[in-house]
């Protein structure tokens, strides 16, 4: 067997950081692709019938705006966890991660409130795609939020369980929530503002 010269141990790999960044890019394509298709259907519907949102359907502005605002808190808390982890401050990491997950839960609650308030039929007999696409795109967003909450819990378990040297997972956790914030901002603008 040929032998190459041995080298010192490789530098830290930051696999989780890179992997999460790639996952975030993929997630952005998922949401971006869905929104692109939404816009295409919207344009076609407006060209054909003059409207996209079904008549008598009102989009609740307060709840959707609160959902957007919750991401300000989520990003701050996610970065707070990173800041605290760099200073080996377990207590603050725990609080920050807990608050991040809690705001994620608040988002889910607000999304359900939007569904209830809108009372949008999914099986629209007129053949409009609005109901189908609304539930599909917002449901996908909610699934991504739930994944983020699980990520927060896993990060908390690992870090608070004693792996305090594993700061990379806290950074990766923040990256994931930043991606969610950007993705929801796009969705908010297209679905709730542009309508």
């Amino acid at each position: 067997m040929l032998a190459l010269p041995p080298s010192p141990a490789p530098a830290p790999r930051r696999q989780l950081f890179v992997g999460t960044s790639l996952a975030a890019a993929s997630g952005a394509m998922l949401v971006g692709g869905m929104l692109a298709m939404w816009l295409r259907f919207r344009n076609e519907a407006i060209a054909a019938t003059g409207h996209w949102v079904p008549e008598k359907i009102t989009i609740p502005g307060v709840a959707s705006n609160m959902m957007l605002l919750s991401f300000v808190g989520i990003c701050v808390f996610g970065q707070w966890a990173v800041y605290a982890a760099r200073r080996d401050d377990k207590q603050h990491v725990g609080v920050a991660l807990g608050l991040t997950a809690l705001l994620g839960l608040a988002f889910v609650n607000a999304q359900v409130a939007v569904y209830v308030q809108m009372a949008l039929p999914i099986n629209d007999t007129t053949g409009s795609a609005y109901g189908v696409m609304f539930y599909a795109v917002t449901g996908t967003m909610m699934a991504l939020i739930i994944v983020g909450m699980v990520f927060s819990l896993v990060t908390a378990f690992r870090y608070l369980g004693g792996r305090t040297n594993d700061r990379e997972i806290v950074t990766a956790h923040a990256i994931y929530w930043y991606f969610i914030a950007v993705a929801f901002s796009m969705l908010w603008f297209v679905v709730y503002v542009t309508k």
């Binding site: 067997m1 040929l2 032998a3 190459l4 010269p5 041995p6 080298s7 010192p8 141990a9 490789p10 530098a11 790999r13 930051r14 696999q15 890179v18 992997g19 790639l22 996952a23 890019a25 993929s26 997630g27 394509m29 998922l30 949401v31 971006g32 692709g33 869905m34 298709m37 259907f41 999914i122 099986n123 629209d124 053949g127 409009s128 795609a129 109901g131 189908v132 696409m133 539930y135 599909a136 449901g139 996908t140």
Partner: protein, 540 residues
Amino acid sequence: MTTIDTASHTAFAGAGVTHAPSAVAAWVTTSDHKRLGRMLIVSGLVALLGIAAVGALLGFERIDAAATTLDANSITQLFAINRVGLAFFAVLPIMLGLAVAVVPLQLGARSLAFPRLAAAGFWAWLFGVVLIVISIASNGGPGGGAPTFVELFIASYAVMLVGLTAIAGSIATTVLTTRAPGMNMRRVPLFSWSALVSALGLLLVLPVAAGTVIYLYVSYRYNKVPFGGNTGMLGYLGFTLTQPTTFLFALPAIGFAAEMIPVTARRRMPMRNVLLAGVALVGVAVLGGITQVNQSLPWSGSGLNLDDLGTKIADLVNYLVFIGLPLIGLLVVLLLAPLAFKGTRPKITAPFLFGFFGVLMVFVGMLGALVNGITDLGLSGTVFEEGVSNYVLYGAVIAGMGAVSYWGPKLWGRRLNEKALIPLALLGTLAVVLSSLPYYIAGFADQPAGAVTFDYAGPHNIWNVLVTLGHLAMLLTVLSFGAVALKGFRSGPAAGDDPWDAHTLEWATSSPAPANNFAEVHSVGSAEPLLDLKDTGRNS
């Protein structure tokens, strides 16, 4: 400490309890990249047998253009599984399997990044494929009449896409984070580079397809009208099954061929950075996949009419960027080969022939995609498009077989019979030409795609007989390759650690590669670390 260890071991041994999993359990639960890669490759080749058989059946159905033996629904479903299967059941798993098996070895890494994610991806892919086959067999899928199984088809499609995305993520992270010390991105082996570009492209394209599948599922489940119900779904997913997205699927095959150039020429690759750029240019195909916009050359029937110039220029730019740049990338790879061979005595091997002919087929397919976009030729919606897909995807499979015979010794520890492989490379190439070229001709005669009854002037039965023979020849090639591989990898001659006198790190470890690949981390000083070592040995 010692006492505890010994007591524990003795106690278990005395009770007759063994912790070694059975062979089947070891494979099922494995996260070893070499095993995962081999499972993907073998599954892909097995699936290819079925797909080639379906291709032959559809070709046979088209020989008599006035009558059919199968009912209309079955034909629609067979066309669907043929298109979906060739791309997602066969070509992608073979390409990703090669990358999973080989990339960590090439990088000097001990394992894949996120190996359990890749393992989960493999099982998700397999689960999705099995469910898709079940759904289509149960009258589901595009054109299917059983709504429950149509839903199952769509959901399984999503599972399959998630699995493939997970594997692609694992490969991309591996190349970005587990390279040996000294191996910067310009020193990454050509195959690993192509795997990275392809994996990054898949990470961008497959989620877009997944988003479409979510819409399709919700639409079909609750309100069948907006997305066309069971007949319209493939129209929305078509962008993942046609050009230029398929170029991304074939990219690792191009990387393999590029890898074979310096090994065959037995010298360092001249203008290697240009070759890297060429491979990366093929990755531009990702733009066509994610935008799904028009990729045709405008000015249909209008000569140089300058009306609506803005739209025409936009279409022209899309056409040149999405189809033209990948073609230029592959052209760079092909043109640099003679440069490498200049003044050397190349050592032609079966893997090289597979790789060379396979990529040549991909190139013809890319040329076809360029021609297909010229609106004035009226090729859209004809079998010309099927011919292009067959050239690109079957060509990638041929190169993939070459890659298996090249890296097989490192994975199985034994060499394949070169004399048996060389005729197979030629047969495989003939199969690709027969299954594709007649459709290029029939496309110009306006034979419609996805239909078995048609009427046009010309000897259509000849073209369809040839295509049927082409698919059968591909079936024979895969079967024969499987037989040669089975025999060679079980009882062939021991390979030795470096049977090809190669240049890259995977050949620095024993054959078959042990668990964790390398006993120690290697330090790399160039793109050809093994050649460096051999040169040092020769000079000292």
